[in-house]
Symmetry: C2
DNA sequence: CCTTGACCTTCCTGTCACTAGAACCTCTAT
DNA sequence: ATAGAGGTTCTAGTGACAGGAAGGTCAAGG
């Protein structure tokens, strides 16, 4: 398989596949013409990567997950640890965003949004202590 | 004021303040020794920036907000538009993360996390269609 | 007067996970 | 022979800074 076909069948852009080879996540063979020659196993890895990335795992997480996947002697606890940590990170992000959202929604709600210059949003950003301040102070 | 004092009083790292000057968000004066000489107005802008960034506005949003802040003839609708768009972006991010979270939590829940190699997380990533798949397929 | 240490300067590189584009090569079909 | 679709490598850019090197400046103390 050439890169085009693998791209289509994996759903990943060819650029991304080349990048994954660059950083050592896959190691396709080479044809005599210099083209990358992908095996089914490469495609399988790429699909694995696509799914893991879609779940938000970092590239390094993916590397670790592929390692564990290849290691038939793994302990599922190791996989679960990676996933749990990622889950916590996502929870933190959600909490942070929700907090931002609350502040922002309040400000947007308070702003008339008309042709006059008075604006509680700008007042808040400028530091006027008329209302509660942004969620994450630092 | 030198950069150190402004850093402390604004809560922004000196590196960040230099960066903001680089990209034209602030324009401090210069002392005869070459040091940046910050006015109170610069500090005010930096605090504004710090708060806007803490609310998740992009640098370009911040540039626009500072523009509007300086323009006494602005219409609050313009400010509200920037903030509303940002709010929508945040909502999308939250929705995306929640979707990831649901899938991931399910997988983590299903994984025994013991010393045996069987792992539904890896099975899912490998493409086994035993359960519902990741939230954002592409 | 000299040194020490804190503070300041510029410049370069690295982050993360790609993406865009240039310049060039290879294959297939006409 | 040529056109077009595919492949190759390489460099540079993204956002918003952070880390670090090499060097200039300043106030205090010996």
């Amino acid at each position: 398989m050439n890169i085009g076909e693998v791209a289509e069948r994996s759903g990943l852009p060819a650029k991304t596949i080349r990048y994954y080879e660059d950083i050592g996540l896959i190691t396709p063979l080479r044809s005599s013409n210099g083209y990358r020659a992908f095996r089914e196993s490469d495609l399988h890895r790429l699909r694995f990567l696509g799914r893991a990335r879609a779940l938000g795992f970092t590239i390094e997480d993916c590397r670790r997950l592929l390692e564990l996947y290849a290691d038939t002697g793994r302990e599922s606890a190791q996989v679960k640890a990676v996933a749990s940590e990622h889950l916590s990170a996502i929870d933190e992000k959600i909490a942070h965003l929700k907090s931002l959202r609350a502040t922002l929604a309040h400000l947007v709600h308070c702003c008339a949004g008309d042709d006059r210059p008075d604006c509680p949003i700008l007042q808040d950003l400028a530091g006027a202590d008329t209302a509660k301040r942004a969620a994450k102070p630092a």
